[in-house]
Amino acid sequence: MPELAPEKQKLPPDHPGFEVEEKVSSPWLEAWKSFKKNKLAITGAVIVLLFILMALLADFIAPYGMNEQSLADKNLAPSSEHWFGTDDFGRDILSRVIFGARISLWVGFFAVLGSAVVGSLLGIIAGYFGRWVDTIISRIFDIMLAFPSILLAIAVVAVLGPSLRNALIAIAIINIPNFGRLVRSRVLSVKEEEYIMSAKAIGMSNGRILFSHVLPNSIAPIIVQGTLAIATAIIEAAALGFLGLGAQPPQPEWGKMLADSRQYIIQAPWTVFFPGLAIMLTVLGFNLMGDGLRDALDPRMKN
């Protein structure tokens, strides 16, 4: 054992030697920095942002009303008057695509929010309490995941009745196991961390540890999963709409628009092209953004 310094010389707290790093950087700020550097992710975020703006400002930017019919102008090709052309009722496709963003984003966002909340709770319960609770919850997840998700969604809608709201509920339900499993695995690993032991050692209760230490450590993967899940939810909503199980006419839902116009695909391809493009772009946007978020937030990718 080396000898200790005979007398500790106390430096004043403002001694320049103590200056370390002035700027306080939070993990979120770090993530934002690395997200900014990722061009693809920014592209995705911009696409998403544009669609969100479109949805919010639909009333102001749409040139026509979403259900404004003009039977004389049916199936018109794109022109300066109707940029995206018109459909078989003479409705302006651009306007319907713009209003459709509202529906798709609404369904995507709230369906994912619902499944994230329910899935996280179930995942926490399964991961923390373990044993038979875990067995029951995990097996239910396994069973749900064994179904093709769209079939499960169709089954749920069949029970609840076809409507946009029920499609949203169905999509929320089928996404629960994804979040549940994710959070469960996070809980299992965080539970073993030493800071959980030291939280216990200062007298913290289990419930409090769960919600103030375990859950916040799972937020990042939940956000990533959530962003990617919105993309799938939008596709699922469109698929249900296409099958007539989601949005009901005359709601300008993209999937429904595809279904309604598919008989004109040869004579008036723009009637299916633009709604399809809208679906593709939003999904692409959310996927790019989700991938970027994963790179930025995943601690394993950090050096």
Binding site: M1, P2, L4, A5, K8, L11, P13, H15, F18, V20, E21, V24, S25, S26, P27, E193, E194, Y195, M197, S198, A199, K200, A201, I202, G203, M204, S205, S212, H213, P216, N217, I219
Partner: protein, 324 residues
């Protein structure tokens, strides 16, 4: 000798595994007096950490379980205490710091956040008062720029600073006993010295009793008044620092002291005790150290020695060489 604050009597903590029951802590007796520093030394796997976790009621359950004995803190037997009562005691009356400062803080919260939470857990204070206390305690543990540190994240601090934060967190509610489980093992030597100094100060100025778990005999000599030597889940020798270093009685203690590298010695090879620690419980009868002991004789394998007073002034040893 002062008033006893923590007394452990016949503590048995067993782990129930697929390979059977393992007595990680096997009938351990020791006590900590008010304001003293007790060292617990031993090799890895000797049951030091499990003993401290048992006192905190934090033995992972399953597979671990306290199957016998008493842990008397003031006038209360903690073995029978409810989980709710234990939560009140943890952090408030008995606090603990761990070996790994790098991972003992939650990476997603600021230092202040975690300190304030710890303070408010045991005090019904508003946030402002708790924050003031957090700054005060950070200054107490010798951290510079306490006001700024409060808004920083654990990854921005060095290991030594983090260990200071851990000590601050443990000291936040002025506990009467601080259990330090190898608090300096993960730190480099200069920081080690500072942390030990800090703990000494806290012990002296605030009268906090410290139970210091370590395998470093240098640390023991520096810090402790009394030492208990653990081997394979048992305490094999107990005494004051002077007794243990000057007149070690148990062959294991002798071996431990001999294996500390000595700069003045000309010998090239370092001394080491032959063999390694037996799995606790693998020796049912006899002294657990007998297979590695150069003085072992027939009685050592046929009868288990008890921890009894030997020599003068309360030195205790469990070895047939010193008992009849």
């Amino acid at each position: 000798m002062g008033e006893t604050i923590l007394e452990v009597k016949g503590l048995q903590t067993h782990f129930f595994t697929d390979d059977g029951e393992i007595p990680a802590v096997n009938k351990v007796d020791f006590h900590v007096d008010k304001g003293e520093v007790l060292g617990i030394v031993g090799e890895s796997g000797s049951g030091k950490s499990v003993t401290s976790l048992s006192v905190m009621g934090l033995v992972p359950k399953p597979p671990g379980k306290i199957v016998g004995g008493e842990i008397n803190f003031k006038d209360e037997n903690l073995v029978n205490a409810s989980e709710k009562r234990m939560r009140q005691i943890r952090g408030n009356e008995i606090a603990m710091i761990f070996q790994e400062p790098m991972t003992s803080l939650n990476p997603v919260f600021t230092i202040g956040n975690q300190l304030i939470e710890a303070i408010r857990l045991h005090n019904k204070w508003d946030k402002k008062k708790a924050k003031a206390r957090a700054v005060e305690i950070l200054k107490l543990v010798g951290l510079p720029r306490a006001e700024e540190l409060i808004d920083e994240y654990p990854h921005q601090l060095s290991g030594g600073m983090r260990q200071r934060v851990m000590i601050a967190m443990a000291m936040a509610c002025d506990p009467e006993v601080l259990i330090a489980d190898e608090p300096t093992t993960a730190l480099d030597v200069t920081i080690q010295a500072q942390i030990l100094e800090l703990m000494k100060d806290l012990n002296k100025n605030r009268g906090t009793a410290i139970m210091l778990i370590t395998h470093d005999l240098g640390v023991v000599a520096e810090m402790c008044q009394r030492v208990a030597v653990m081997y394979s889940g048992n305490i094999v020798e107990e005494g004051t620092v002077k007794q243990i270093f000057k007149e070690p009685k148990h062959p294991y203690t002798v071996g431990l002291i001999k294996s500390v590298p000595d700069m003045t010695s000309k010998r090239e090879r370092l001394y080491s005790i032959p063999g390694s620690v037996q799995k606790p419980g693998s020796i049912k009868v006899g002294c657990p150290f007998a297979p590695r002991c150069e003085h072992a004789f027939d009685r050592c394998v046929s009868e288990t020695p008890a921890l009894l007073e030997a020599g003068d002034e309360g030195q205790k040893v469990s070895c047939w060489l010193h008992h009849d």
